[in-house]
Amino acid sequence: MELYDQVTINAPKEHVYAALNDPEILRQCIPGCEELIKKSDAELEARVLLKIGPVKARFSGTVELDTSGAPDAFSLTGQGNGGAAGHARGGADVTLVESDGKTVLTYQAKAEIGGKLAQLGSRLIQGTAKKLAASFFQKLAEVVDSVDA
């Protein structure tokens, strides 16, 4: 499954980049995120409550960040396990381009889903994932906007 989209955020690139690395902001933006702990600069641990179609489950997982392209690019890989509900792994490449004090964020994500999620939710997953990603970046835009305002 692949996802691709663009969002414009009303803030300079550095702010957006910093927000993407701020566990507290991330926690607010990730839909259903109950806990996000920064283990190191490159590693986060998360617990997320997700509902996809008929499957509702608490996923716990790790996220690894690659910040070597800062502040223009940023990538992450992660995996999560929802026990009986299934599991997922994937990654995303994010690029940030600034113009007129605004930042255009582009993301390209890939994910592989397994277990009950893949069986029950197969026809719902693409749509749900798109919705979740959109909701994340929209929330991010809001949070960053409000911090900047």
Partner: protein, 805 residues
């Protein structure tokens, strides 16, 4: 005296015997919700089991933590392989000579595999506890393609010595299970080297699932006081299950009682032994309480026995005139993680060697390679007698491909190659002796009934109209003439786990002239209580309405191998007739005594014995039954009972001619079945109404399989069709009208000439639907497109042929 006088006709009608469309005696309870299924059973103190299943298709199990689950109120125990290992029950034997993990022993080989078994006070607590069991997995590379599996370095079955032979001979690779061959390879190669015309094609019969409305389940109850285990379950073969349970548990067979209550459809899915049965028995032994386990729909579709999944590489050779000279087939059979295929021991690819079909093919060769993959195990006959559907689909597609190659009409090609009536009993090149048949008569009747020539004309006109842009719909005419092989089977070559595939009937006539008959089979909707009583009614002259049929309780029924593969009528039906004849023989002696004549001077007449030449002197069966219990007859024991264990001398070979006329919308891929004509010849017809019902049901399953039903996996081994949202089960909406017809060619070796019919519509229906799809696109160059022909795939055919402009 055997003339059909009105009086005699009335007596025959009163019996409701052979040939009568007697209403199903089972239906009164089924239609009123009074059936009694496994899940209806509620015993005092009954516990409930549920499985923790693997979300991965291939993974190592690093650890299982049951602490949180055990802490949940209401949880009694959580079993893992480590708990079963000391009992030697963490693995179990399969019906195919392989072994299968009961609970994951170090690794999992398919998604949904049983990892741990939770036992709780109620079903909901069990399900909650399943979610609390923490299992740590390490993912392993997944193999879902059998061709890849045979090349891969990844070893699926680490428990097997790659160098040691399997249950069916040498293994060529660590993921290879067996090679099975039939026919003459050298002679077949020679025929192909010299042939005028050779058509070659890969025919894939996709993986699907029987999907009975009632899923699999059981209730195990160990009585620790008297040492008796009672096991209720959805078993298609209760006696065999008792033997298997005894062999693997060590409990003596007389201390095990297996009961199959009402069963809500089986279609092969309920033949095998599943982990749920073993775990429930163990749980009941450990807890001393009854334990119930019933699958949910996803578990049924994902883990219990699937059907088909055969890749059949075929070649067919013929003369320029279309006379077939040879057939060659190499099949790659995907058996999943364990070889749990349900076939007679000597036939690891079932009766796939019936793949010469209805045709007189002098030379043929078949090889089948079984392969392990990361998919669910199984490989059962889904309303088909051991891979006969695969064989029928293969030959009926190859005939169509040959017709294209020869630029011939496919109906005519079939006609010139049919085995002729005078060739029966016919010895096939792949080893079977066909008992009887009259294919030309059936074929001509079918073609006439549908107006075949006019249909072809209409089709040609449609193609022209399409090319002119006047229509976007094409017309397909799907032809099939199938030959089935059912009634497994002769003990000399058919056994399952060493148990000969005979069957049995025990009959007891009561003093007042009614009777009870018990059989080794078990109805799952076939209507045995109706039809077996009809066979007996005609044999012993007691009305079918006065005969109770009982099956499924191993404490009372005689031993038999159960119901699958259309074997009940050919085998247990024959046993009924033979037991009935034993009753009649004794009744004849009693009648002679009562009439004060010699045994040879009385003869059977519908419902009585009459003195030859003096029909006014007779004793009815009712009178004879009473005499058996109240008279001291010299030289004859009191009572009127008989038992027969019937070992059939041969299989039976039902056949049929099916024609499907289908409209296909090129732009949407939708299809509409305009006409479906099904002619079945199942020998003597016991109950025409039940035959028609069987044909309707089987055709609807065939429609499902051909047009959409499949068990599909993604590259990670996720089962993508685990619910009825994704797994196609036709409703009244999708089901077309069927026209049924028949010819009658009795089996010469069956006591009443019956052949069995349950599977025929599935065996013949699938190629008829599929051939219709192919035929619609023949004019545009389509040779082969794999099933299922769902809307998207049909659209894709049209797109690939450039029909979308």
């Amino acid at each position: 005296m055997n003339d059909m006088t009105p009086e005699r006709e009335e007596r025959v009608a009163g019996l409701k015997g052979l040939g009568c469309s007697r209403k199903r005696v089972e239906d009164a309870r089924f239609t009123q919700g009074k059936g009694n299924y496994v899940d209806d059973l509620k015993l005092p103190g009954m516990l409930h089991g549920d499985f923790v299943r693997s979300p991965y298709a291939h993974a190592r199990v690093k650890s299982i933590n049951t602490e949180a689950a055990m802490a949940l109120d209401g949880v009694v125990a959580v079993l893992t392989a480590a708990d079963l290992a000391p009992l030697g029950l963490h693995w179990m034997p399969t019906l195919a000579g392989d072994k299968q993990m009961v609970l994951a022993d170090g690794k999992v080989l398919f998604q949904g595999q049983e990892v741990a078994y939770v036992i709780a006070r109620d079903r909901y607590v069990a399900a909650d506890a399943v979610e609390l069991v923490e299992v740590e997995y390490e993912e392993l590379p997944v193999l879902t393609d059998p061709f890849e599996a045979l090349k891969s370095d990844v070893v699926l079955r680490e428990d097997l010595d790659p160098a040691a032979p399997g249950a069916h001979g040498p293994r060529k690779h660590h993921n290879h299970i067996f090679t099975w061959e039939a026919g003459d390879k050298t002679a077949t190669e020679q025929v192909f080297a010299e042939a005028d015309v050779v058509a070659e094609e890969m025919i894939y019969y996709h993986r699907t699932h029987p999907c009975p409305l009632e899923t699999c389940g059981c209730v195990a109850s160990m009585d620790k006081v008297n040492g008796k285990l009672t096991l209720w379950g959805t078993f298609q073969a209760p006696h065999a299950i008792r033997t298997v349970v005894s062999l693997i548990s060590g409990i003596e067979e007389h201390n095990i009682r297996v009961i199959s209550p009402d069963i809500g459809g089986g279609f092969g899915n309920k033949v095998g032994a599943y982990a749920g049965y073993v775990c429930s028995v163990v749980a009941s032994i450990v807890t001393g309480q009854p334990v119930k386990w019933v699958e949910d729909r996803m578990e049924n579709l994902m883990t219990t026995a699937f059907a088909r999944d055969y890749w059949m590489q075929g070649k067919i050779a013929a003369t320029k005139e279309g006379k077939i000279t040879g057939l060659w087939c190499h099949t790659t059979a995907d058996h999943g993680g364990f070889d749990a295929c349900a076939d007679p021991t000597k036939f690891p690819a079932g009766f796939m060697n019936i793949c010469t079909g209805s045709y007189d093919i002098p030379t043929a060769y078949l090889a089948v390679d079984g392969v392990y993959t990361n998919k669910a195990p199984g490989g059962v006959a889904y309303r088909c007698s051991f891979r006969v559907t695969e064989a029928a689909y293969f030959i009926e597609r190859m005939i169509e491909v040959l017709a294209i190659e020869l630029k011939m009409d496919a109906a005519e090609l079939r006609r010139i190659n049919f085995i002729r009536k005078d060739q029966f009993p016919y010895q096939s090149a792949l080893g079977w002796e066909y008992d009887s048949g009259d294919y030309h008569t059936a074929w001509d009747k079918a073609l006439t009934a549908v107006g075949y020539d006019a249909l072809r004309k209409e089709q040609a006109e449609r193609v022209e109209a399409f090319k002119r842009g006047e229509t976007r719909k094409l017309l397909g005419i799907g032809l099939t003439h199938f030959t089935e092989i059912v009634g497994a089977g002769p003990v000399k070559n058919c056994d399952i786990l060493g148990l000969g595939m005979f069957d049995s009937c025990e009959i007891r006539i009561h003093p007042t002239g009614s009777a009870i008959a018990r059989l080794g089979t078990i109805s799952q909707g076939q209507g045995h209580a109706t039809t077996f009583a009809q066979i007996l009614a005609s044999e012993i002259g007691i009305p079918a309405d006065s005969i109770t049929i009982e099956e499924g309780d191993t404490d009372t029924a005689p031993y038999g191998l159960g119901t699958y593969g259309s074997r009940s009528t050919p085998v247990a039906g024959a046993a009924s007739a033979m037991a009935g004849r034993k009753i009649r023989a004794k009744a004849q002696m009693i009648a002679a005594y009562l009439l004060e004549v010699h045994d040879d001077d009385v003869e059977f007449d519908v419902d009585r014995f009459v003195v030859k030449g003096a029909p006014e002197r007779f004793k009815t069966m009712k009178e004879i039954a009473f005499a058996a219990y109240n008279q001291a007859i010299p030289g004859i024991e009191p009572g009127l009972e008989a038992v027969s264990y019937y070992d059939p001398p041969n299989m039976t070979y039902p056949f049929g001619a099916y024609i499907c006329v289908m409209e296909i919308d090129v732009d949407t891929g939708e299809h509409q079945i305009r006409q479906f004509y099904a002619l079945d010849d199942c020998g003597t017809r016991i109950n025409p109404m039940i035959i028609e019902g069987q044909v309707h049901g089987g055709l609807t399953e065939a429609l499902a399989i051909a047009m959409g039903q499949e068990i599909a996996y993604d590259d990670m081994g996720n089962c993508k069709t685990g619910t009825l949202m994704d797994f196609f089960l036709p409703t009244a909406w999708e089901t077309p009208h069927y026209t049924t017809d028949h010819t009658v060619t009795p089996s010469p070796h069956h006591p009443i000439g019956a052949k069995g019919v349950g599977e025929s519509p599935n065996v013949g229906g699938v190629p008829a639907f599929s051939n219709a799809v192919h035929d619609a696109f023949r004019a545009f160059g389509l040779r082969q497109s794999h099933m299922p022909h769902d809307h998207w795939r049909i659209w894709k055919i049209a797109d690939d042929l450039g029909l979308h402009g």
